[in-house]
């Protein structure tokens, strides 16, 4: 049903291609939905670029990298948007990405510099719970409490991996003991963020691993102030989401233009209330009302991109062993 118009569209597309260059951006699914940043970003960029911006949703961040690896140098993608710093080392290793040359005055809690990838938003991982629920404020307090939490599997989910590296970067050698302490608090381990957050909302757990910005969604979009993120004394692990240009792009100048646009006002101002993350460059008007209520951790934790893969491997082994007993 959809194929015919699509094929027709492809044919028309080629006819019109002479004057309208197409920029293909691979990204994760939730970016392109009608609630995500995709539609607003597309309209804003197309207003200035004299081009056709096409977003292609390909699962989540990790699936995105897999897709690029599968397609290799023949990929139609010009830009990949939505990898995080746990994936960029592997992405760089493929040799498929080209240097970007974008500079901006980033509002990140850490210094960020990467020749291949440009950050577009970031957030802190945190345990989110109900205002009237249990509120441990450290891993130790959480392990000692009766609070029931649902987390994501680090082997299939980026927040799950974030928690793994969070515990690893705080406790190092002692991570195994921490996981053993948390074992009786963990209700279950889900495949992805959506399932875990759903279980939490249905009352199956007191806490869920998510982001410090999650309560902002409930507050701003649903006018519901009943959710809060718990500030942890040990500090919070960060996620920095980035985009990169593919070396094989057939419109490299346009790809550069898009990356520069990505850190500009038009793109960045859309991020907070569509992606529910912090923009990499704070918009002139500041953050939307409601964001000031969010927890801001004093210590931001993030492993350098180059160390993430090795740390992941070791931490995963510890995690599996501790939770398989």
């Amino acid at each position: 049903m959809k194929t015919l118009p699509l094929l027709a569209g492809l044919a028309l597309g080629t006819a019109a291609a002479a004057d309208t260059p197409v920029l293909t951006v691979y990204t994760y699914d939730s970016f392109v939905t009608e609630w995500g940043p995709g539609p607003a970003v597309e309209a804003a960029f197309e207003a200035t670029c004299a081009c056709d911006l096409q977003f292609v949703g390909a699962g989540d961040g990790a699936a995105l990298l897999g897709r690029i690896r599968l397609e290799g140098a023949r990929s139609e993608a010009d830009v990949v948007l939505g990898l995080d710093t746990n994936l960029t080392a592997a992405a760089a290793e493929t040799g498929l990405f080209a240097p970007h040359g974008v500079t901006a005055d980033y509002d990140l809690p850490i210094a960020f510099e990467d020749p291949l990838f440009v950050p577009f938003d970031w957030g802190y991982f945190a345990f989110v719970g109900n205002v009237d629920g249990p509120a441990p404020e450290s891993f130790e307090a959480l392990a000692a409490s009766e609070a029931r939490v649902v987390i994501q599997d680090p082997r299939s989910s980026t927040p799950g991996l974030g928690l793994l590296l969070w515990v690893d970067s705080v406790f190092g050698e002692d991570a195994a003991a921490v996981w053993e302490g948390l074992e009786d608090n963990i209700v279950t381990v889900t495949r992805g963020w959506s399932e875990a957050y759903g279980l939490f909302l249905e009352g199956e757990a007191d806490l869920v691993l998510s982001y410090t910005t999650s309560p902002a969604y409930h507050l701003i979009a649903e006018d519901d102030a009943s959710k809060r993120a718990l500030p942890f004394a040990e500090g919070h692990y960060m996620q920095v989401e980035v985009a990169g240009k593919l070396a094989g792009s057939d419109v490299p100048a346009l790809a550069d233009e898009f990356l520069a646009f990505m850190v500009s006002e038009a793109f960045q101002s859309v991020i907070p209330t569509t992606n529910w993350m912090y923009p990499a460059v704070t918009p002139e008007a500041g953050l939307p009302d409601g964001f000031e209520t969010l927890v801001t951790p004093e210590t931001a934790l993030l492993l350098p991109a180059g160390e993430a893969p090795a740390a992941r491997e070791a931490a995963l082994e510890t995690w599996l062993e501790a939770l398989s007993r």
């Binding site: 049903m1 959809k2 194929t3 699509l6 094929l7 492809l10 699914d29 939730s30 392109v32 939905t33 009608e34 609630w35 995500g36 995709g38 977003f55 292609v56 949703g57 390909a58 699962g59 990790a62 699936a63 990298l65 897999g66 897709r67 690896r69 599968l70 397609e71 023949r74 139609e76 592997a90 029931r148 599997d153 082997r155 299939s156 991996l161 074992e183 963990i186 209700v187 279950t188 381990v189 889900t190 495949r191 992805g192 959506s194 399932e195 957050y197 759903g198 279980l199 909302l201 249905e202 009352g203 199956e204 757990a205 999650s214 969604y217 979009a221 992941r312 599996l320 939770l323 398989s324």
Partner: protein, 524 residues
Amino acid sequence: MARGAFAVSPVRALAGGAASAFLLALTLGTLGAVAWRAEGLAGLGASDWAAIRFTLGQALVSAALSVLLAVPVARALARRRFPWRSLVVALLGAPFILPVIVAVFGLLAVFGRAGLLNQAGAALGLPELAIYGPQGVILAHVFFNMPLATRFLLQGWLAIPAEQFRLAASLGFTPGATARHLEWPMLRAVVPGAFLAIFLICLTSFAVALAVGGGPRATTIELRIYELFRFDFALGDAALLGLVQVAVCAVAALVAGLVTVPKVAMAGMDGVAARWDARGAWLRAQDVVVIGLACAFLLVPLGIVALRGAPFVAALPASVWQAAGASLVVALASMLLALVLSLSLALWVARGGRAARIGGDVISGLALTASPLVMGTGLFILLFGWTSPQALALPVTAVINAAITVPFTLRVLAPAVAEIEEAYGKLAASLGMTGWTFLRRVILPRLRRPLGFSAGLAAALSMGDLGVIALFSAPETETLPLAMYRLMAAYRTDLAAGAGLVLVTLSFGLFYAFDRGGRADADA
């Protein structure tokens, strides 16, 4: 044997061979493509072996429990007539065709920490019932598959000619003797196949293990494959585990084929069996309790899903309805393909004896055990060379969904076709009625009930399956399950519940329409 008198006709061999080749290409071919892209296979590590052990263990227990529990339910349904019976029978099919994520939320609403049972238990001061862990995986698998087993067994019961029960009654058979002489031989023929099908389903299901498994102890082979693809991009290891699944499937199909005793077919008048053996008050009470319990176990979670989603259906955005339309088209296309494939295989297998039957089981089982991830990735690798995979998102989804439903439709169609062949084949051959005429005049009319059931099953399964669409999809080619996942990923849990209800209603509507169509004349 008399079978030699009507050898497999060239047309049948061609159709059956083509269907087999198609399924083999989809399963082993895609596996080969992944292995080729990986430039060889790697070895199995300790965590792979742990995953293999867990997967086999839970699949065995889940399948055994599902079939065991299905026997009394199917038996009760087979020998009772009551108002709404056909609706109950149809509803029993519902859990199996539910999208996993919808069903898991329904189950948790009953068995979860905040579920009905624990709320009732807490009011009575009982300790909390823990669902998360291996017991949760098995509970969910039984929830999904017990109804399917019930339907397989019910088909078996209904296929016992009414005349046999009449004869048994006139010979003064006790219920025990009826069970021994009529029902036990039927079970010997049907149970191994049903067990095999469910075992294979539980082998590859991984969304269940990841939602209620409780942690890394519940790591299945499919989850290992997922992990290898995603984080390690270790195509070789993934292909090797895909091969392990295929090997397990082949062995299981072989064993099931060897222990199955082919049923001795006796042609009856296709009537509804009156059951003189089941008129005792005790048996009647027993059946009422069994049917009541099964309905409660299966329908309460469904009811909760419906209540949860109902307020939000009206608020669903247009994109979700568009996705629903796309899903309907995919479901119907994939149903047609599944019927053509499984009917071709069934006609071929019916004349080939035991070896062909086991061959059919292995080939169709492959489609079920082949990891959807491996299949999708393999197809992606194969298609990427010459076309844009996104343009083929919906057709590819329809084809793969058809392939994974063939094991079920074949399981329903093959015995029915074989029975018709046994009963009418020689007569037809002696009348010189062959080929197309035989198919149209003899086989298809008698195949209405299993064909309707198969069509409903295939359409509904395809409707609810997330399948490979996520790997291929572009934003404008969404299916309903994908749209639902995307709603959840955007914090829209309420809308996702609404979409879930639409999905359940459409899946079930398709199933009911086809299944009912097939049974139009047979049920009171």
